[in-house]
């Protein structure tokens, strides 16, 4: 947040954290204001049904899984490694789960095996990045490409004509369950965010993660195992993506060839609005990330309901992305010189 004059401009001084002050003045404060603007705009342009349970459910069900994946992936960003393969891990996880279900596996074993596979992919990422010092973007790009192919192969093999139908009553019911008129998965995603925020802000693990992302050299001199933190973050990121894939199978009842394709861009755009950086570790808070998702979901919902031709939607969302980060910057967020 503050730039130092120590000649290492990319690393913030460690500041004592006052939770309340951070919330209101940090990235969360400005993204929170952006969200309020979006909500007010929604009410003005759409009317009271914008905040009705039905509408929040629609937007919530759509944003829940990306938000969940983002919550898990944010640890990797904090630790200074960006995992670009989260979309493809989600896709291949859905494909693996679908294939297992189609072959008669029971849901518990199928999910276990699927998540184990995702941890394996995360471990491979970690081996390359932490063990071999490969560039994280290039390495996870390779994983992204490889798993894309794996998804195609699995869907081709176990599906029909490019779709793998894998409907499971229990999982479908769970992903569509409503609690207090809101989707359960949306509440779970928010819950994950809250837990992540606590871990990042209040636990030693969180401090270590931020330290590793902020200045790996200093962190290792302080006795923190950079390798362990980054490995853990990559495993967590893969696990979260796998969970997302499992939930997609529940929600959609089927796996398409391109499931998860481009999801990483969606997720990181939202996290960046929320204050994370994909090229610099140590900055960002899970709460900000979640707000970033909500801002985009809210804006997209306004555009969906307002009768604007869908071809203008992306233009407006892109401008909002710029506006949100500009607002964050004006309120004292990181300036890129």
């Amino acid at each position: 947040m503050t730039e130092t004059l120590t000649g290492r401009p990319d690393t913030p001084l460690p500041i004592a954290h006052h939770p309340v002050r951070d919330v209101l003045t940090g990235p969360v404060g400005s993204i929170g204001i952006t969200l309020i603007i979006v909500l007010v705009a929604g009410l003005a342009l759409i009317g009271p049904r914008f905040l009705s349970a039905s509408n929040v459910t629609i937007a919530g069900q759509f944003v829940a899984i990306p938000m969940l994946i983002g919550g898990f992936a944010s640890f990797a960003l904090l630790a200074g490694v960006v995992d670009l393969s989260i979309g493809s891990i989600a896709g291949v996880a859905a494909a693996i789960l679908g294939a297992l279900l189609v072959n008669g596996w029971d849901i518990a074993s199928a999910i276990t095996l699927t998540l184990a596979a995702c941890l394996l992919f995360g471990a491979i990422n970690a081996t390359a990045i932490v063990g071999f010092n490969a560039d994280p973007i290039a390495a996870t790009l390779g994983m992204l490409t490889g798993l894309r192919g794996a998804t195609y192969v699995i869907v081709e093999a176990y599906g029909q004509s490019g779709s793998l139908f894998a409907f499971h009553d229990g999982l479908f019911a769970l992903t569509n369950l409503m609690v207090w008129s809101l989707p359960l998965i949306f509440l779970v995603a928010l819950g994950v965010t809250a837990v992540a925020a606590v871990i990042v802000g209040k636990t030693r693990l969180g401090r270590h993660t931020r330290a590793v992302g902020g200045d790996a050299l200093a962190a290792s001199r302080a006795g923190i195992s950079v390798a362990r933190v980054r490995t853990g973050a990559l495993l967590l990121s893969a696990l979260g993506a796998g969970l997302g894939g499992v939930l997609y199978v529940g929600q959609l009842g089927a796996v398409s060839r391109n499931l998860g394709f481009g999801l990483e861009f969606q997720v990181y755009a939202a996290l960046m609005i929320g204050g994370f950086s994909i090229l610099r570790g140590g900055v960002g808070s899970p709460a900000g990330g979640a707000l970033g998702f909500l801002v985009i979901a809210g804006a997209a919902n306004i555009l969906d309901l307002s009768g604007i031709s869908p071809y203008y939607v992306n233009i407006i969302v892109g401008m909002l992305l710029l506006a949100a980060v500009l607002l964050d910057r004006l309120r004292g967020g990181d300036a890129y010189e």
Binding site: V20, R21, L24, T25, G29, G32, I33, I36, L39, V40, L43, A44, G47, P48, R49, S54, N55, T57, I58, A59, Q61, F62, I65, Y152, E156, G159, Q160, S161, G162, S163, L164, F165, F167, Y248, Q251, L252, G253, A254, V255, S256, R257, N258, L259, D304, L305, G307, S309, P310, Y311, V313
Partner: protein, 354 residues
């Protein structure tokens, strides 16, 4: 710092006040919902011109009838299609037309729309419970394949060096019908082409995206000269043709496409011998005539949800490149269609060999 928290509280208070005031003013907007409301979910895949045009035509027809019209894009994504369904249901549409490029989500959509009692027209990809409006892709494939077969029988005595299939796996069953259908149609005319001459590459249905893969395929068969190309669509076939041009082997390559996207206008590749028009952009005329208008009149037609027995059948129009020269390109066709008497289809207006 205190100033910051005070200003945050102030903004919250402002938001609350604004909400109350605006909320009161908009309490009445729910009242007048008597007009027929049509929802359209366009495919949203940036590959193809006709996806946007499908929405434009539906919008124009709905406006002609004075209906309310909501258009959303499926963004070629299953989760988005599901979200759009939720929005259509919430907004109280009376009927939905969709092109769903990710049909894996169709069962979930059918369940939602069915529970809400909203009738759905689906283009080209069948789903039990959705009115099927569209082409018989298999028949279109066969027709194209036979036409190409006749050409290579005449020119090469049914002895090509390669028969290249430009696949588009993402199109799922439509790819199997069209590309597979073209192969079968060709085989009907030239049954004795040996198995190893049938090769394929993944074109993704686009001329530029499929180009490197086509180049690699041709490089792996360096001695092939006489090449026949079939594929998912004109774009895929052109990927192979353009690759041959780049590798200096375009002298004896002949392709026959599907969907007619690149067979009109004055920039037609000379190696594209023909295509099959579906006039995809004009599907709405069929949908309105045979399904939506009756529903709006309170007279829903019987459910017909398969390509073999559709609620409304669109005829394919196979054309050679010469015949296609008379057909205007898509933006022009849309204009003429909307100016024509209601119920006139593009097939009636433009197909040169009905």
């Amino acid at each position: 710092m205190e100033g910051q928290s005070r200003s945050s509280i102030r903004s919250l208070a402002a938001a609350a006040a604004a909400t109350t005031i605006l909320g009161a003013g908009y309490a009445t907007d729910a009242a007048a919902q008597d007009k027929f409301k049509l929802g359209m979910a366009v495919g949203g895949n940036p590959c193809c011109e006709w996806m946007k045009a499908q929405g434009d035509v539906a919008r124009a027809l709905a406006e002609q009838r004075g209906w309310d019209y909501i258009e959303l894009s499926n963004n070629d994504d299953a989760a988005t299609a599901l979200k759009n369904a939720g929005i259509f249901i919430q907004e109280g549409v009376d009927a939905v037309i969709q092109f769903n490029g990710q049909p894996s989500s169709n069962p979930a959509l059918a369940q939602r729309f069915g529970a809400a009692g909203i009738p759905v027209v689906t283009y080209d990809i069948a789903q039990p419970g959705f009115y099927f409006v569209g082409i018989d892709n298999l028949a279109a494939g066969l027709a194209g394949g036979e036409a190409l077969g006749k050409i290579i029988k005449e020119k090469w005595n049914c002895q090509p060096d390669l028969v290249i299939s430009a696949e588009g796996a993402a199109a799922g069953i439509v790819n199997e019908w069209r590309t597979g259908g073209m192969r079968d149609g060709l085989k009907k005319v030239c049954p004795d082409i040996p198995a190893e001459k049938w090769v394929s590459f993944e074109s993704q249905g686009q001329a530029t995206v499929g180009l490197p893969a086509a180049r690699d395929l041709l490089a792996a068969h360096p001695d092939a000269k006489r090449m026949a190309v079939v594929g998912l669509n004109d774009g895929g076939v052109l990927a192979a043709i353009n690759a041959a041009e780049q590798l200096g082997r375009a002298d004896e390559i002949i392709g026959w496409g599907q969907d007619g996207a690149f067979i009109t206008g004055d920039n037609v590749n000379p190696h594209l011998a023909g295509s099959v028009f579906y006039f995809l952009e004009g599907y709405a005329v069929y949908a309105f005539r045979d399904v939506i208008d009756p529903i709006a009149a309170g007279n829903p037609p019987p459910m017909k949800d398969t390509a073999g027995d559709p609620a409304s059948r669109v005829e394919p129009c196979p054309v050679s490149a010469e015949e296609a020269a008379k057909v205007p390109d898509m933006p022009e066709r849309v204009k003429l269609l909307l100016a024509a008497p209601p119920g006139t289809t593009e097939y009636q207006l433009f197909c040169p060999n009905k």
